[in-house]
Amino acid sequence: MTENFDPMVLTLLLPILGALVVGVAGRQLGKTGSAFVASAAVGCSFLIVLSTVIRKLTGNPVPENIKLWDWAALPTTPPTTISFGLYVDSLSLTLMSVITGVGFLIHWFSSEYMEHDPDVPRFFTLLNIFIAAMTFLVLADNYATLIIGWGGVGFASFGLIGFWREKPSAAAASKKAFVMNVIGDIGLMVAVFALVKYAGTVDYTTLFKEVLPGLTNNGQATGWLTVVTLGLMVGAYAKSAQLPLHTWLPDAMEGPTPVSALIHAATMVTAGVYLLVRSYMFLELVPALATAIGYLGVVTALFAACCAMVQTDLKRVLAYSTMSQLGYMFLAVGVGAYGAAVFHLVTHAFFKALLFLTAGIVIHAAHGEQDMRKLGGLGRQMPATAVMFAVGSLALAGFPLTAGFFSKEAILHAAHHHPGGTPLFVIGALVAVMTAFYTGRAFFLTFLGPSKIEHPHLPGAPTTASCAVLMLLSLGAGSIHPDFQAFLDPSMTNHAFAIEPGATSGAAIGLSVAVVVAIAIAFAMFGKGDRDPLGGESPPLVGVRNGAGFDPFYAFFTRAFSALGGLTARGSDHFLQETLPSFVGRSFGSLSLVLGQIHSGQVRHYLLVITACVTTLLIFSLVMRGGV
């Protein structure tokens, strides 16, 4: 227990309180009131985080561990406890700034965007639950309580993907996301069980200050470390939609667009990156798995970029680009560039939230149309939105001097200098070019060419303003890069970062040129906005567009289980619940029909029977006694 009340506790309490108030009294608050309470809770959280960041920047940057209470005892020798506490260091503060900051902007955006929905209080309740869970996920001071936040964001994501529950596709997508996330939860739980058994603690401070450094000095990687790291990886892969546990993310676009922006682009999917960066010492101890993470990351990036190139749905382009950018972050984690991974996480949160929110404006404007082939020419009709979307696209493409350029370049730079990282660098650079191409395609198809939408619905002040803030961040966030590294360093006690700002390196210049060329090619192909060679219906295009066969593969398992379920439903269940009980019921019915014939309803008959019986019994008992 700390003697002084730390304001960081409030960042956790405020969204919980907001969710409670809006959840219980949402009907009384009305739409505006619900939006205001929820936004205010997150906004205040953000201010507290900001003040803590400033305190850290100006004062002592050492990680703080706020122990609130002991949560559970562990049966280890000597006995230890799982504490319920907050771990405030520069890593968790960075994540917190993104979660509450971008989260607040998206709440603000939603207050206008969702105003015509009949179920606004439920929406904001779930958003606040999400923020609270995410807050706890990054602030938890050990792996066991981290699972609370981990499961909480999974739940909030489930509720928000399926927010329009009357849509069967949304309900199916939410189920899919939940199942995939639970696979990750199992991985995480296995990791925690292994930690309890072999390390005897799940506490970050103890693990990273005492247990793991001791192992590092031994130079011996033991088996349980591999188990823990694998478990953490499975958790991270499911949450961050990496191959092969990615299939839920494109479908998650069934949710409302602000949800896509907040959860499935800016924050929740980055939880996996956070988890791996937080656990970087495990990765250092099991270098084989770190290499695997790097390669899987770059393969995911490539795969998702391929899928994104042929999408026709604007939101699905963004979904696949998210997966691709998360692949970059995992690549960075794999090559040990944790700072670059977190930096890309931050810039990605800005520009991807911007892209999703402006895409939401476009979809509203187009009266619900998301197919890029049916959009077009919106640039003349809504120039402000077009500019904001363009900035987001440029940042995503890694156009020079946008935020995305600095972070992506840092990752590629790190991959280039990593021993044996040349293939990673080459594929990563290729994906960067592809990214520039498909973002260009999405922008040109949507905003250039002939107008196809009559009377677009123009955005109001809150949506435009929140997007404008994100636009400025997407443009300018790159400039904090060197300072960011210094800010993050205290979180990485044992890791020496050797990342110089690489904007002047040859790779950076090459990247800039390639990106510009790719955008130019995209302009040449799609600049007229009326022709889309990649939007065709030929079998290979459709195959890649639908996720290149992963869905049918998983559907095989679900079909197998549902066939098994059908078998038991028709076989044993039907017999046990229908045939057998009704047989019992019918047989008793017919038996009583027979027995009922005895009853004539005449008193004298009963009397005679009773008399006869009693007399018989009397005689019988007398005979037995040898009397008479």
Partner: protein, 109 residues
């Protein structure tokens, strides 16, 4: 003769049989009630006879046997039964305008 229990027991059995036959053959509920009274009083007679002529069945606490007590119980029950039964008969009459017992066979299976 009047000193032997058999005399009283035979009278009791005769009265009981009379009630039983009356019960079986009559269709008027009032007469059936009277038959029930006959059977109850026959059993009362048996109770007091046994109480008077035997020492085998001692009452609690070693006192005289409990037979006379039971006659009072039986009489009380008979009175209560008459009240309820007559009430039922009146209700039936109001509903069906007849008290013929044979016509009341709605409980047959």
């Amino acid at each position: 003769m009047a000193n032997s229990p058999e005399f009283f027991l035979i009278i009791s059995a005769l009265v009981f049989s009379l009630g039983l036959v009356g019960m079986a053959v009559r269709r008027n509920p009032l007469v059936m009630f009277m038959s029930i009274e006959l059977m109850l009083n026959a059993s009362n007679l048996a109770f007091v006879t046994f109480s008077r002529f035997t020492t085998k069945f001692q009452g609690f606490h070693g006192g005289p046997s409990d037979g006379p007590v039971f006659t009072f119980v039986v009489m009380t029950i008979a009175a209560a039964e008459a009240v309820v039964g007559l009430g039922i008969i009146i209700t039936i009459f109001r509903n069906k305008h007849t008290v013929d017992v044979d016509s009341m066979a709605t409980l047959k299976g």
